[in-house]
Amino acid sequence: MKIPDYLKKKRKIELTEKDLIDYEEKVKKYYEDAKIIAPVHLSKGNEQEILEIFQYVDKDDWVFSSWRNHFHALLHGLDPDILMEDIIDGRSMSTNSIDPKFYSSSIVGGIIPIAVGTAKALKLKKSSNRVWCFIGDMTFETGIFYEAHKYVNNFDLPLQFVVEDNNLSTNTPTDETWGGIKRQIPADVIYYSYERGYPHHGTGNWVLF
């Protein structure tokens, strides 16, 4: 994984790999105890990469994420207890916060245009803050990413894309659906690949609700 030179470290991350893994284990237990009556999308396998990236995210930056968002939310400073309440309340796929600024959505590619708009606004306001948009490999291949990336680059908007590639969209292999070839990653996009540690949703164990 390469971090572009124009990015500087903004904060020290107190959370550890173990903290992140333990948090999802806690969600797993609630889910398997049938205390969460909604899908959960657990993170595992990308702890090192995401811990490194969030050192470059300022506490006042915007962070956009998708349905698999617990690591992003925790690392951007959402209160773990409030986040857990949201998850138990069935909001795992669309956790949102205004302080810190965090938006997530369970629609593929849906966050991208909104992230572009916040970046446009920050630029108009001459803000020193940045927008971070975390997307998966299938989202990276969509037309909306192509449009957005072009617009962001041509207008020099403060938006940093991060592609988290597990080559799966639900359980569909991204490369296979695109004929075996994925788009080349632009130099300004942070990219890493990892192996998904949990299924697309749920924990991998049968739960009787």
Binding site: R91, S94, N96, S97, I98, Y103, S105, I107, G110, I112, P113, I114, A115, V116, G117, T118, A119, K120, A121, L122, L124, K125, I144, E147, A148, Y151
Partner: protein
């Protein structure tokens, strides 16, 4: 005052607000009826966009999350269909998704394409008002039938206390008829 002049008056009133911005295709360049209602809006208040309807709607919502009030223009109802992902799945659901914390206020302008003197045909003249009233749970949908409804509709869209977004639908034919 006639239908089009009421819209022009409304745009001029909105343009005086420091937090408004007008965006879409043909806000700065001629090409559709909406352009003719924005001629007196200062250039620095306008963002001419590419044809990327979905991105335009999300961009408007994103700017609204940072405090702007975008007046986002879709020259025909038929074109607004392409922005439905952002409109229906995001802007309309943000209040629920954020437990009321996020209050992006977007004013969406669109028009039922005129049939006189030229009929734009089946892909340029559709009226989807009732369909959108059914689709949208939170966004206010307003169809402008009479000139005297126009200014108050835009005024309310900008000032409403609940910060809800508003879809305002114009009749292209009424620009000349009323």
């Amino acid at each position: 005052m006639g239908y089009k002049d009421e819209i022009v008056k409304s745009m001029e009133w909105l343009a005086e607000k420091p937090d408004t911005v007008f965006l879409g295709q043909s806000v700065s360049y001629s090409g559709n009826a909406i352009y003719n209602t924005l001629k007196t809006v200062p250039d620095q208040k306008k963002i001419e966009t590419p044809v990327f309807e979905e991105l335009q709607m999300g961009l408007s919502m994103g700017m609204a999350l940072e405090g702007y009030v975008p007046i986002t223009c879709y020259p025909r109802f038929d074109f607004l269909i392409l922005a439905c992902n952002q409109l229906v799945n995001h802007l309309d659901k943000i209040n629920y998704m954020s437990k009321g914390m996020m209050k992006p206020r977007v004013i969406i302008r669109t028009s039922i394409g005129a049939k006189k003197p030229l009929d734009g045909g089946i892909q340029h003249t559709q009226d989807h008002t009732e369909a959108f009233k059914n689709l949208l749970k939170d966004i206010n949908v307003v169809l402008l039938n009479e000139p005297d409804e126009i200014f108050s509709a835009f005024e309310l869209a900008y000032q409403r206390d609940d910060f809800k977004s508003t879809l305002i639908i114009e009749w292209g034919d009424y620009y000349n008829d009323k």
